[in-house]
Symmetry: C2
Subunit: 306 residues, 2 copies
């Protein structure tokens, strides 16, 4: 008697079917769940994922769909596109899976000059650090307080921190965020070695690395990767590494083979209302409204394009 | 060149080797990393895990060690001990793994009166909800702000929310927290069906369920469970469910077969200092101190008893 009821009761908390934001929902109207709000959202509330800024990471078990963030890391994203076009990641691996932290992938021999995989023609071997985005950008603020940033919200559909005094915005290290691994030097990343957050948001890393995108579909293909047995989740045994068949830019994949997705706009009324519905849930299961939502608990709804 | 340096640089963020808390570290002294502080902690800073309040969940791949929380849920914990002694979970399964949320385990047929596994003699079939702990309890407060609770910190070594006005304390839904699944009725859990948080802390669930403990070792045996293909992460195909060999109370296991662990006390100076070292990191990798740590980003260090 406790299996399905619990499941149904928690169902409105599904990570990939819900949301949150700044303006309060209309008062006095009947409570609708986030799911009801999203299901009723007009087509205009959805945006197409742009194939020119979408990566397909092909794993034996399926496809991971990644939205790139050229507005935050133009140089890194351009380099990643060059490398994807050149097939750099084809045949590489997920060579690190550290519990409650990150999976990391790319060329496991990148540190060994003798064995390192050659970068495709046109790859830039040196890039500036792109930790924060300066200047004006649309920012849909969450009203909720946050310990890591003066303000939080969404820019270009990414969960971000924002500092109005410094006029800086940065992609937060939420679950599914994609970052560029680096050495100690801030400008030591070029986008060849990448990591995805698979645990509690390690936001102490915010503004310390160049963030290049986020996973929009297929997270469970990464998050359930067996953790590596070596320190920090590395696999010394090559057989344990998870192979990457290919990483391609969606626009380089034939139209018939694409995964056509839409993302709910973070400036849509549906997103704002659904977020409020999550902040203050009213249903048969939840007895106390939280009155709050954390930036990294706000799901960004995805649907297959009709 | 980007593999090990990144790994080493991020190493101080290892989830199971670090910490955080209320009082500031001594000023004017040389910066020490959390790891250095913990490694230098005196034996008196560590407490033994009590075998009478420790569960061993035996999976084919290894042992998950769980610390029970009798101070928060005395009735549920007593029932869980009765069920463990009676072998209730032996041969049951992890029947749900929902990405970025929870794994859930117990008797998959619990809802089917005809097939449900009989509870061991002495199991109470009705318990009160134990969502919050009333009255005085030692509370080691984190100074960091939190959106979900008036105050946060540690009680009995568990990450908790605290409401000084209502004099209530509750275990927060951080990564690794163990809760009792329930139906819509608040008093519908008895501890037979349990869940463990495996993603971004779903703290909207705080104070809505009875929390009975947390995983102190072996989380990756749960978090890397392949996600269930059905809605909410269920597996309809029994072959996909992860089998549970047994769940035993450590005190019922022969001493030679126990996993003897110690936990760093959350009221120790080492814990307080290590937390401060994480809040404001100073090393060759981190260029900006965060000045903050989230309750659910504070690791609770565990070591093998010498």
């Amino acid at each position: 008697m406790r299996r399905l009821p619990l499941a149904l009761a928690l169902s409105a908390l599904l990570p990939f079917v819900a949301l949150a934001q700044a303006e309060p929902a209309a008062k006095g109207t009947k409570y609708r769940s986030a799911k009801e709000i999203i299901d009723a959202a007009p087509d205009s509330a959805w945006r197409d994922l742009d194939p020119a800024n979408t990566l397909y990471m092909e794993l034996p078990a399926g496809r991971v769909v990644i939205e790139l963030a050229p507005g935050f890391a133009p140089e890194h994203v351009a380099n990643i596109k060059t490398m994807a076009k050149g097939g750099f990641w084809d045949g590489t691996s997920i060579y690190r899976a550290q519990d409650n932290f990150v999976v990391q992938f790319g060329d496991v021999d990148a540190d060994d000059a003798a064995k390192a995989k050659k970068h495709p023609a046109g790859t830039k071997e040196k890039l500036p650090a792109e930790f924060t985005r300066k200047g004006p950008a649309r920012f849909d603020r969450l009203k909720d307080k946050d310990g890591w940033a003066p303000q939080v919200g969404f820019t270009d559909g990414f969960a971000v921190g924002h500092d109005p005094a410094k006029k800086e915005t940065w992609i937060a290290h939420c679950y599914g965020a994609l970052g560029a691994g680096r050495n100690n030097a801030p400008d030591s990343s070029i986008g060849a070695e990448l990591y995805v957050v698979i645990g509690q948001a390690p936001r102490a890393l915010d503004k310390q690395l160049t963030m290049v995108g986020r996973v929009v579909q297929g997270m469970s293909l990464l998050s359930a990767t067996p953790r590596g047995p070596e320190p920090m989740g590395f696999y010394e045994d090559p057989a344990q590494r998870a192979p990457i068949t290919a990483i391609r830019l969606a626009s380089d994949v034939p139209a018939a083979e694409r995964t056509n997705l839409q993302i709910l706009r973070t400036d849509s009324q549906a997103f704002i209302d659904a977020t409020e519905a999550r902040r203050n849930r009213k249903d048969d299961f939840y007895t106390i409204p939280a009155g709050h939502i954390d930036l990294c608990n706000v799901p960004l709804p995805v649907r297959t394009k009709k």
